[in-house]
Structures are given as C-alpha cells and as structure tokens.
Symmetry: C2
Subunit: 242 residues, 2 copies
DNA sequence: GTCTATACACAGATAGAC
DNA sequence: GTCTATCTGTGTATAGAC
C-alpha cells in the first residue's frame, strides 16, 4: 500500500473514531452540542500542536492558544478544566487512534516477513499523517507528571514488543537468523522515530516516506533475514536494496 | 579502547579545556576569582541539567536552580545576565568540547573501516560520559530563539557529514558497497542518539555502551561492507555479530 | 561574593454580561 | 456558547545590606 492510499483510508476512519472517543471525555466539557465540540476541539488540538512544536507546551500561553484557535480564553476553558487536562485529552485521543490503526494493519498480515514490512510501513505512514502529534508526544510527555509519563513509557515499550515478537516468531520459522531481537527491535524503533523527529531534514532532501520505508526494510532484512530468504527476495526483486 | 579508559582520558582533558573556554565568556561574569567561577559554574550547569531533564528548561525556575545549586538567586545572577544567557554559555562550552574530542579520535585513525568504528564508538562513549548534556541539548535547543537553533541544526548535520564522508571514501576504496550514503549516515546518527535519549531503557536491560557500540557496528557493516571485507572480518572474528 | 527582600510582568484561571 | 474584564499566584530579575 502506498502512502496516498493509506491516508485516504484513515481520514474516513478518523471521523467515526472522534465521536466515539468524545463520549469518554464528555463529562469534563460544558458544551452541549456535539457538532460544536468536535469542530472546536479539533481547532484547539491543532493550535496546541502548532504552537507547542514551535516553542514547547509549557511555553505556550493560553493567550497564544486563544489567538491561534480563534476562541477567547473564556471559551477555551469551557472545553477543558485546566491546561494539563487539555494535554491529557489530546494524548488519550491520539494514542488510542494510533494503536487501533497499527494493530489492525499488522493483524491483517499472515506471512512473517510481511508482518515485519507492514509494521514498519504502517508506523511510518501513521507518523507521516500525524507528524505534529508524534513529534509533540515524543518531546512533551517526558516532562509531564507521574501517571502521564507512565503511559508514555508504556507506549514506547508497546511498539517495541510488537517488533520483538515478530522477530522471535521469524526465528522459529527460520525466516530470520538468530540475533538479539530485543535490541534489534529497539533500534528499529529508533529509526522509525527519526522520521518524524527530523522531518525538516528529510523534507529538504526530498526523501519520501515510501523511500524511507523501503530503505529501513532493506537494512533490517539485510541484518535479520536468513541467507535462503535473502536469495528468494533477491530473485523476486523485492527487498528494495539501493 | 574501552569505555573506562576513554572516560579517564577525557576527564583529564576537561580541566584544561574548562579554563580555556571561560576566558571567552568572562566578560559577562561579575566574579573576579577564577577558581570560584569554575567551581560555581560547574555546580550551576550540573543543577541546570538535572532539573531541566526532569521537567524542561522552560519549566525550571530560578528558585529551583538556586536550591539545587546551593546558591541564592542574587548570587546566580552574578554568573549570567539572564536565563537565556545561562543556556547559551552551557551550550557553547559543551558543544566545543564534544567537537574537539570527536575530531581528535577520528583523525587518529587511518584505515577507513577503523575510522567508521571509531566514529561510532567515540560518539557513543562521549554521549555516555556526558549523557545529561546530550539529552538536554537534543530536547531543549529546538525551542530556542533563532541563532541558537541554527547552531543546533548545524551541529546535527555536522556529525552526519562525518559519517557520509567516511562511507563515500570507503566506497571509492572498495571497502564499502554502493548505497545511499547520505541516508545511511542519517540513520547511523539516529541509532547513536537513541543511546542517550533512552538511557533508562538500556540501563534497565543491562546493556553496556560497549555492547551497544558493537551491535551498531555490526548492523552498519552488515549493510555496508563489501563481501570481500565481510569475509576478512569474519575470519578475524572482528565484527562482533550476535 | 553572597545574601534577603522586593519590584514588576505575565501566566493561568474565573465571573458575569451578552 | 462566547465574549471582556479581572483576580491571584508565580516567575524573572534587581537593589542594597552584609
């Protein structure tokens, strides 16, 4: 699947998801009309990401946010009780959306090498489609109070576990050779993160998500694939070397 | 060279360097006695890193810093004019130190594969020895005003250039195969950064810098080394696979 | 050189009119 | 539902005694 197709499928998905997620946080919101809530929360979240990614969440003032979102300070405070709650809502919404998409795509695959490809590709595509949030989440959740930080760490380890699992399964079925899979998984994660953390750099060099995905997959396969499977891919021209 | 040996050499080096660097920033400091300046700036910098890495530089108040450094607010302000200047001083001191050490070690090597090893190893060792600063620098310099941000980006691209250059030279002398070296270099950088950004994770798993270095080198060599050189290393047992 | 006490600006948050 | 006006706490930075 290429990136354009991927983006189309998730933007349809996003609408349903948004309403569903709202019901959970509804208790904290004073506004009655659902349409208004969805529309304005969206503006608020976008503005938050835009400003925070420039100068940090802590440095963003409510006046900044008010200006960027096009709502008065008073209006803002009818959507959340305090600045910290704004962050919690934003995080919980995006986090569960991300998790859902990722799992669905991986579970759809059956072959072990395909699972690896898809995990890498979908993670990159997701972080491309939601780059501001991925960046924000990485940079900001570290400085946050106890329970929120725990969730950030859990989320970091969760994706890693997925890769570790795939690599372990692959070794059993002789698709991958023996390596330190835990370490490999964490390095894959680091390479995935670089895509959204250094977006400016790759943009300047005209590297597309597809190219980056292909390159990562080739690195990982060169390192992990068993010799027999390397040959198979080569004859199929499938592992995207160069 | 192992990490313990490395650390010993740089801690000797650091003393001379500190005095040398102070002369540049001396004009902004009201204190006369050099010994006092060195001693207190050290306390201030350490405290800054400690607090900032917990809750962010922006969120660190001067009262926090005063408490942690063991100096009153009044005393602090005789070492710098404002909070932003504190950050500039810290950055300039550590940045030039890092650069010097890195270059010296790489230039000492002559073989192209050795240059690659050393570049990876020394970068990791440096970021291990100065982990709080590397972490801080990554997380904080993005949110800073114009000229400081430019320096951060320059610094990011500088290390990358080193790796790109080594890979290019290596291809010419047939040590490395043809790849997208610019992209490989930026991925190496990402893997190096993961070491100091996720220090907690590797510590919990009892992965040492040496192990991590060995693993990175094996990934890069598996991907880049020409088939003939791979064999050479294997018979020498030198590329640390597994 | 280092301290305490204080000025002053600006942040987050609310009240109440429309 | 959204606005303007305002309260109150806290942050940076300085003045001046010791």
């Amino acid at each position: 699947m290429n990136y354009t197709a991927f983006k189309k499928t998730i933007s349809n998905y996003a609408k349903d998801f948004c309403n569903e997620d709202l019901l959970e946080n509804r208790k904290n919101i004073r506004i009655k009309k659902e349409g208004t809530v969805v529309k304005n929360l969206d503006k608020i979240f976008d503005a938050t990401l835009k400003i925070s990614n420039k100068k940090g969440f802590q440095a963003m003032t409510m006046r900044d946010l008010s200006g960027e979102a096009g709502l008065s300070m008073g209006a803002l405070y009818s959507y959340f009780a305090c600045k910290e709650d704004l962050l919690k809502m934003l995080q919980s919404q995006r986090r569960s959306f991300t998790k859902k998409i990722l799992e669905e795509h991986i579970n759809r695959e059956t072959g072990i090498a395909d699972k690896l490809h898809t995990a890498i590709r979908v993670h990159l595509y997701l972080s491309e489609a939601m780059q501001p949030w991925f960046y924000f989440s990485y940079m900001e959740t570290k400085n946050i109070s106890g329970p929120e930080q725990a969730k950030a760490i859990e989320s970091e380890l969760y994706t890693e576990k997925i890769f570790e699992q795939i690599l372990n399964d692959g070794e059993k079925s002789k698709v991958f050779i023996h390596r330190n899979h835990k370490l490999t998984a964490s390095i894959i994660k680091a390479m995935l993160q670089d895509w959204y953390l250094k977006r400016w750099k790759y943009a300047k060099r005209n590297i597309s998500v597809e190219q980056y995905a292909k390159y990562l997959i080739s690195i990982v396969e060169t390192f992990c694939l068993s010799p027999e499977h390397k040959k198979m891919y080569k004859t199929r021209g499938g592992n995207g070397l160069h």
